[in-house]
Amino acid sequence: MSEPKTYTLTQLCTSIKNLIERSLYEKYFWVTCEISGINEKNGHRFLELVDTHDNETTAKASGIIWRSTYQRISSQYKEETDKIIKKGNKVLVQVEVTFKEVHGLRLDIKNVDPSYTYGDIEKRRAETIKKLQDLGLIEKNKRIKLPIIIQKLAIVGSPNTSGYKDVLDHLDNNPYRFRFLHQLFSATVQGDNAVSEIISGIRMAQLYDFDIIALIRGGGSKLDLDIFNNFSLCETIANCRLPVITGIGHESDVSVADLVSNINVKTPTAVADFVIVRAGDFSARMEKKTKDVLIRAQRKLSFSKERILNNSGLFKALVTGIIGEHSNKIGLSKQSFFSKLSEILQFNDNLLKDNSNTCENLTLRLIQRQRNLLSVSLEKIKGIISFQTQSSSQRLRIKRNSLQSLSIRNYSLEPGKLLNQNERLRINISNTMKFENNRIKVDSKKLELLSPLNTLKRGYSITKKARKVIKEYADVKLGDTILTKTSKLLIESTVKKVDHYE
């Protein structure tokens, strides 16, 4: 058995190198892979490239970007370069297969097509959105009602960024001089720890009494902002107890964090401005409404005033009208009262006149009767007297005769005695006459005194009720209408009170 032929490793590697160079020299391939590791040395980039399928590594290779190549790529893609050629990214690279005895197989990267990497980001973004949709999380944070005023803000972001400083500057120096409370929950917004720090920042912030959580990140490239497409981060935002406002600086695309947040604005300062404008708007609305209340109050007042004025005018007219009407009525009443009164007076006057006439007639008649009586008496007296005289003369004659006869016989009888007897008779008659005359005089005086007319003239009055003179207590009662007759007036009155008096 012959000894098998042995080669040194160098020999083997050299022949592999020759083999590869012969068949693959200056042949370039576009390869998709994931960068699983990256190291820089003297401007050269040493990469670990892998390919995975269902989370299993299916291929692995080393890669290198020489400094000159890297500079060329960088001049084309500027700052994006570092973000494309970055651990964890899927890349499409143009490679030449090289083999060095010392380093083994190595892919010499000549070029990069970033669109593949972007496409991968897009793909992952779409996957995240789909997953969130399936869980019903896209709208979840949006359903939380934003307070009418946002005054207490938790800010999740990086403290030493201009974005954060601008936010504070806007909030603290707002033109309305509103006071906002803000508290930073520090989280780095780039690099491998960004996602976990942002998540813990949000979780921490929602333990406190804030109105909102502002998630801010200054301007960055598409790849920078890829962390905001992270599923866990977006899930945390969606499930946050407080409304989350995102202000992630980017120009065109919207991150998934923006999609799930309550409100998204373009930049960190826009978050501050949103909050300020909201408060300013509320304040203005408030002032406007208060002004409206005042205006309405004024309008109401002036309206009321006007109404009062109108009413008072109307009232005055009404009152004047009513007063006029009443004074007319009073005038009429007065007239009718006076005419009635004069009528009554006339009537009573007439009545009185009639009464006095009757009285007078009666008196006259009485007087006449007395006179008649008197004249009858006189006649009687005359008769008596003449009889007496006659009988006296008779007797005288007889006596004279007898005297004559006696004188004849006795002439010495005294003539004086006869004279005396005659005288006595005459005095007797005249006394009787005088007496009778006096009696008549007294009688007519008495009659005069009895006449009621004279009594009335002296101020007495007669009070009657229903043509009956009131004398007794029983003749009159309260409310009776009574007529009082004085010498000149007839007064009708109503009884208010009846009293005995001594």
């Binding site: 009418i148 005054q151 207490k152 309305y176 509103f178 408030m286 409404k289 208060t290 209340v293 109050a297």
Partner: protein, 68 residues
């Protein structure tokens, strides 16, 4: 009036709206007018104060937070 507690901006806004719509009605008593205007001013003042002044309560929360 002051017994009615002022709590939130939303409540203030709602109340102002109520006052306004009440005042738009025909049956506003003049006696009420003064009260309503007073209340409106009170609401505005409350909101302005709240907007422009720090709430001690939250300040305290923040302070606690910073100690940690």
């Amino acid at each position: 009036m002051s017994e009615k507690e002022l709590k939130s901006y939303d409540a203030a806004m709602t109340e102002l709206d109520e006052i306004l719509s009440y005042m738009e009605g025909d049956h506003v008593a003049i006696d009420d007018l003064e009260k309503k205007v007073e209340r409106a001013a009170e609401l505005l003042k409350f909101c302005n104060d709240k907007l422009r002044n720090t709430e001690l309560k939250v300040k305290k929360i923040i302070e606690d937070l910073e100690i940690k």
